[in-house]
Amino acid sequence: MYRYDEFDHDFVRARVAEFSDQVERRLSGEITEDQFRPLRLMNGVYLQLHAYMLRIAVPYGTLNGKQLRMLGHIARKYDKGYGHFTTRQNIQFNWPALSDIPAILADLASVEMHAIQTSGNCIRNVTADHFAGAAADEVADPRPYAEILRQWSSVHPEFSFLPRKFKIAVTGAERDRAAIQTHDIGLHLKKNAAGELGFAVYVGGGQGRTPMVAKKIRDFLPEADLLSYCTAILRVYNLYGRRDNKYKARIKILVHETGVEEISRQVEAEWQELKDAELKLPEADIRAIDAYFAPPQLVDRPEGDAAVKLARLDSKSFSDWLDQNVVTHRHPDYAAVTISLKGIGEVPGDATDSQMEAVADIAEKYAFDELRVSHEQNLILPHVARADLKAVYDALVDIGLATANSNLISDIISCPGLDYCALATARSIPIAQEISLRFASLERQREIGELKLKISGCINACGHHHVGHIGILGVEKKGSELYQVTLGGSADENTSVGEIIGRGFSSEEITDAIEQIVDTYLGLRLSPSERFIDAYRRVGPAPFKEALYAGETKAA
């Protein structure tokens, strides 16, 4: 993985010193809240309902054992013993005192981490496929490009005060696990007919109150042109993006209002000015960054097959976990493991201090010291020898993180909602917990098959409800929580925005409604291999509406 050079170390240390000074001046009353707010936001410090919140960047979701152990340490020493992994592959702590934040940032800097650009109208943490470098279907590892984008975008003077926040995602496989079409810029790393690397470029995706699927504006951008082309997009956005209305300030609105053809033309015109200048990436520089992401030396471990077969016979729960949470690796003797942070009835994405430390130990012992945070709020061990899978499973059982529910209905994305968030209008976590408990039986979940359920506690859609196969949006209506259901959303290579199915449900009704939707699907699917999303796309909303609301129409 990427290691800081002297420049990076100096940069982060300088920022810690600068922000520590700002905190000190704030606490002494030398600067006002109005002066301090933009400064704290630039350093990932929010004010939530109960306390401050600190959001820490995990660049493209990659971290090592030492870093995760430090996050566990921070949870224990400065917080309340747990942290929350987010859909931007970051982690946030819910209870830090402002006066402790300088010490936290110093601790983070000691393991090459920081909280810079995790808030504000700048380019946020660049996300990537959580199986990057391990996936069997990958053309190339997308993370070197994410790292190049990170270096380019960190305190970029021209792009630190954009009309609104800006999010970039990169995938290196046809199968999109990074939800690139829901991003301001989505990059699909691929090879052209000549075998050269480049990107399909998508622009103008996003969720929030106006969900939009990104539009492809270029089918193949040579890798050397990555920064010049992204700069061209950002320039067009910075110049024409709306600053008069916060709700219309994202690039998705600009793309929508201007039209894809015209935006493409503007970007292209800007790019012509830039493409052969200093932003062109020298081949040697790309390969130098590539080298940081060189895969670990995966020695052949052919004994894995027999070991796994034997362990399967011995333990059904291991066998279930293997089927659900372990995916094929490009090396046949290895596998990539999803550590579910979605235990039945637990808070999606939360991990305790001791769980973080134990997972760090597992990564160091069995997974070449590599970990990922997925945008689906789970942890990933990207490289585990199949021969070690049983040992990893046993270690995860010991810390309560062996739930075999990856991609099933209880693998829910949920924002913090009104339990923590100052912007939320309804709670989302308790709804996630209740649905998880209702579908607690893994046998039943597996029978239902792949089903992406995503919950947001307000229209800002941090819980990605628009692109859930089933999406739930919590709003406040007449002083109570009300939950709207959308169906048919998807965040993969066939991205779609879900459709609102009808009137919302109270907190008491919503789990029953979800169960009714699931039962309706089970009744109409052509075979167990027809996933919920495929069935929905085939039949449309009518049968689901009928199941949910027919009684009401007749009564009326």
């Binding site: 704030r26 606490l27 009353g29 006002t32 809240e33 004010l47 939530q48 309902l49 109960h50 306390a51 401050y52 309340k80 209870w95 830090p96 005192a97 402002l98 006066s99 808070v347 009104l418 339990d419 923590y420 100052a422 939320a424 709670r427 976590i429 308790p430 917990q433 406040e476 002083g479 109570s480 929580e481």
Partner: protein, 101 residues
């Protein structure tokens, strides 16, 4: 009826104005029954903000239930109690401990 709430500058903890100071629980917050009392609370909040004691100062709706002050809106009820998913955290935690004692 209104009460005055904010978050403490140093640690961000939710506080309510009560009896001449900022209390960590809402139970005995000063109630404003009329416009004049609201203005008084608002002035106190503005001064505490200017003095860098608290941030995010707000006057919120409240009522008295069983002799203690309770916010009206769910958002404020959750602020006053703690996350509903963690009865062991936030203000509700100490109340739990009191009940157990």
């Amino acid at each position: 009826m209104k009460i005055l709430t904010a978050n403490r500058l140093t640690d961000g903890i939710a506080v309510w104005y009560a009896d001449g100071g900022w209390a960590e629980t809402v139970d005995h917050a000063d109630l404003a029954h009329d416009k004049a009392a609201e203005d008084r609370l608002e002035a106190i909040g503005a001064k505490a903000y200017a003095d860098n004691e608290v941030v995010d100062v707000n006057l919120i709706d409240a009522e008295v239930v069983n002799g203690v002050v309770e916010p009206v809106r769910l958002r404020e009820k959750i602020r006053a109690a703690g996350p509903t998913i963690h009865p062991d955290l936030g203000k509700q935690a100490s109340r739990q401990a009191e009940r157990a004692a």
